[in-house]
């Protein structure tokens, strides 16, 4: 009797609807605890003044008397929008040149073009200053070359921020558009040509619109990233006000209410942009009818178009690699030999040697690797389950869950960090009654939260391509769900998951913005170490450290591509 009952229960447990909820539960729990709750806490903080509900902070924010916040808001928004356009302007053509034209070294340049992603933000900006600042290498060279009185240009203020943003963020456009271009059905362009359209019309009316999903994804990423951008405005723009900095300053001035308010407003803007983009993309259909039918490189090529474009592309990549080269150069300049001089004169490995002598040098490296590994392992597991439930199971409230998953992307790192501090500086059930702030675990958790969307999205892409009938076939052959999942689903979607995980890992290793707000003694990551070197004016050592970091990240990318066939370019 009991046996029968148990068996009944087990069968019931295995029915699809129940099983969906079994899978859903942990996913919802994680999203609720670590995404929704912190954001909610921040919202509460912003309206809960001295124990009562009040919109005082919002009134202050929008107070027409003191325009600081509004100015910051406006600056953030317009800089972000301009960043989107500038990044697109660089990324889209490069993606086309490197994916449409065949020339010697194409593969090298195509991968080199994603190098800005391995440039740590803080030192990245520094090296920009050394290149294009008023007394930068490039600036001075041009000045000397043409015997100019005044430097021809200088990197500062808004233009400086935009330049840095365009430089670091075009990669998003480059990556998304690259994979879209590769997936584009050439028959569509041929059809347009056949109907009498010239190449420009084909590009404008057919190719570009078909890239919309890619462009939307990249725009979102760039917009979010520049809303959250910290290092560039922090280092370049003197007193220039942007929202992410305002939050930081409010916070370190101890004005927590205001910081929360600013965070909420930033979140609202980001989420609005997310929804706007979703709406825009949803208006039309971009699904290619048939995947991969007759994909072949188009044959007829005008060499007068091809070679100048290729030359531009290659030249572009060389320029894009200049900051890396500068960092390397800086790392070779011994302390104190390049202060007022126009060009460095002495070179040695002194900085590297000094670093090596430091007994604690590997500690941040170890921390970064460990935390990135822990966080990414979490992302990996969570990503698989969340994505499986979202793509393959049907349940009510799916849209809401989808937005929750995307939320950490819609929120700048500053805000995520802020949310976490507010949520977890007291014991909560979500942290099993512990205070997380000030402990080792807060940073891996922050990385984890930050990268949820990245992994879930790339897994989604893989899962959406996975035919439902594979799962059914396995079950029809007698496999239980767990077996099916382990033996069939997982291996098939692995490349997609790995690509996302890899990108998450790489970003986690170099993460700075939330690290700076959350790190502790035990978990000081590389980026913070670099910042501290900078604070001690050890520019050369900071550069040497950054070179280590670049090599580390590039190494990880290379190994995973070489040995596991994972291509980070294909993630988004």
């Amino acid at each position: 009797m009991l046996n029968r009952l148990l068996k009944r229960g087990w069968d019931w447990f295995q029915t699809d609807r129940v099983f969906t909820w079994v899978l859903l539960l942990p996913v919802v729990a994680v999203l609720f605890s670590y995404v929704f709750y912190p954001e909610f806490r921040t919202l509460v903080e912003s309206v809960w003044v001295n124990g009562t509900f009040s919109l005082k902070n919002y009134r202050l924010f929008f107070n027409p008397e003191s325009l600081a916040n509004l100015e910051a808001l406006w600056n953030s928004v317009y800089i972000s929008i301009l960043s989107v356009f500038l990044s697109a302007l660089i990324g889209v053509p490069l993606a086309f040149i490197f994916n449409r034209y065949e020339f010697p070294g194409r593969r090298f340049f195509a991968s080199a073009a994603i190098m800005p992603i391995v440039l740590p933000s803080l030192v990245g900006v520094m090296s920009f200053l050394f290149l294009y600042g008023e007394s930068g290498l490039v600036t001075r060279s041009i000045q000397d070359l043409f015997g100019l009185e005044e430097p021809p240009f200088k990197l500062s203020g808004v233009s400086g921020i935009l330049l840095v943003h365009a430089y670091t963020m075009y990669v998003y456009f480059y990556m998304t558009v690259s994979s879209a271009v590769r997936g584009l059905n050439p028959a569509l362009e041929e059809a347009a040509t056949n109907l009498g359209a010239g190449s420009w019309t084909v590009f404008r009316r057919v190719t570009l619109p078909l890239l919309t999903p890619a462009l939307v994804a990249a725009s979102l990423l760039v917009f979010m990233t520049s809303m959250a951008s910290f290092s560039a405005p922090f280092l370049l723009a003197g007193g220039f006000r942007v929202l992410s900095l305002q939050i930081y300053f409010s916070k370190i001035n101890g004005n927590l209410d205001m910081a929360a308010t600013q965070s909420v407003i930033l979140s609202v803007i980001s989420i609005s942009f997310l929804l706007l983009m979703r709406w825009y993309q949803g208006r039309r259909d971009y699904r290619m009818m048939e995947k991969g039918v007759g994909t072949h490189r188009r044959e007829v090529r005008n060499p007068w178009v091809k070679w100048p474009l290729v030359a531009t592309g290659v030249f572009g990549v060389i320029i894009l690699l200049l900051p890396h080269a500068t960092l390397f150069l800086l790392s070779l300049v011994p302390e104190g030999t390049w202060t007022y001089q126009t060009y460095p004169t002495t070179f040695s490995f002194e900085n590297y040697i000094l670093l090596m002598k430091d007994p604690t040098i590997w500690e941040p490296v170890r921390n970064s690797l460990l935390m990135a590994t822990v966080a990414t392992a979490g992302n990996f597991l969570f990503g698989i389950f969340a994505s499986y439930v979202l793509v393959k199971r049907r349940f009510r409230g799916k849209n809401l869950l989808d937005i929750l998953v995307m939320l950490p992307w819609a929120l700048p790192a500053t805000v995520v960090a802020m949310n976490m501090i507010l949520a977890f500086n007291v014991p909560t059930p979500f942290t099993f009654g512990h205070v997380l702030v000030g402990t080792f675990w807060i940073l891996p958790l922050a990385y984890f939260i930050r990268h949820i969307p990245l992994v879930v999205r790339s897994t989604n892409a893989a899962l959406e391509q996975l035919d439902d009938s594979l799962e059914e076939a396995a079950r029809n052959l007698g496999a239980r769900w767990t077996t099916t999942f382990r033996r069939v689903i997982l291996p098939v979607i692995m490349p997609g998951i790995m690509a996302g995980t890899l990108l998450a890992f790489v970003t986690a290793v170099g993460e700075f913005v939330s690290s700076v707000m959350l790190y502790t003694i035990d978990n000081r990551p590389i980026s913070i170490e670099i910042m501290n070197q900078l604070r001690m004016f050890n520019l050369g050592q900071a550069a040497a450290y950054a070179v280590y970091q670049i090599i580390l990240i590039a190494g990880v990318l290379w190994i995973s591509q070489r040995f596991f066939g994972v291509k980070a370019q294909n993630t988004l």
Partner: protein
Amino acid sequence: MSRVRLQNVSKTFGTTTAVKELNLTIREGEFFTFLGPSGCGKTTTLRMIAGFYYPAEGRIWFDNRDVTEVPPQKRNTGMVFQNYALFPHMTVHENVAFGLEVRKISKKEIRERVKKALEQVRLAGYSDRRIAQLSGGQQQRVALARSLVIRPGILLLDEPLSNLDARLRDEMRSEILSLQRSLGITTIYVTHDQTEALSMSDRIAVFNQGVCQQVGTPEEVYNAPRNAFVASFVGETNLFPATVAQVSGETVTVQSKDHTFRIRHKQEESGFSVEPGNRLFLTIRPEGVDLVPEAGENTLSAKMELVQFMGTSFHCAARLEDGTPLKAMFVNRPDLMGRLREGDRVIFRFPEDRLRLIPGGDDRA
């Protein structure tokens, strides 16, 4: 090798009824086909048998076991999916072995059985190939081997040939058939292609809008359709509304528009009797129509509108004087060549043993 019985099975999705009060028995070892237009509920029925859907009402029996609520992995059916659903990350061998590994069968036995299964589908040398390296027909055979190797009680095939080109489709039909015959496994085959259904099946169930219209052997379904839908869906046909004028023994005289036709009608064959005044349908298949030099009994004059050369035969579309279209088919013979010309006026004869009566003339025009 089980008998499958569907007992009053219904299935609804939201407001649409995909399958309605279906009663069917599929005999042991039979090659049984579900035939019907798109959306008529074939796949839904098959998936209920496989266990991917649970019926809203009714019960499903395998032999004497009620499997209505048994999860798919415990039904021991072998399913070949329309798109084959081969595991792309496994080799041919691994694909075929999967179902056995899941059953915790010894390594050695697995190796043997996979080998044998691959031989059966004539893919002996392919065991280490990756799926992507196979042609469509080969993939189809792997899918077949994969479901056969687990020695399923029932083999389920969901339009397995619809993705293949004409030539390959012909080949695969014979292969599936000969394999099924030699193994004697109960097989349910889903298709919307009537040629496929007719040429392969022991029995066919013709579906329309979730309802089973007729169950019978190919010849029964083709030559003695139960109703107008079956007549027009299974093969091309000419269908004229008609009224019974006179009944004398097996010979019936009917009136269709201006024309009078004599027909041989056996009640025991068609399952219904006729009486003068009955409104019903008169049908004749295109290949039943004769071309004669001059008018006589059961003849009609028509204008040839389109002659399509199909290789083995000529397909003709003609139009009677009152504007009714008529299809006729003639086997390719050198002497016909000159006689079938578009625009010509010709005389057709409907031989009385080729004409059929179908009930239901009241409902349909």
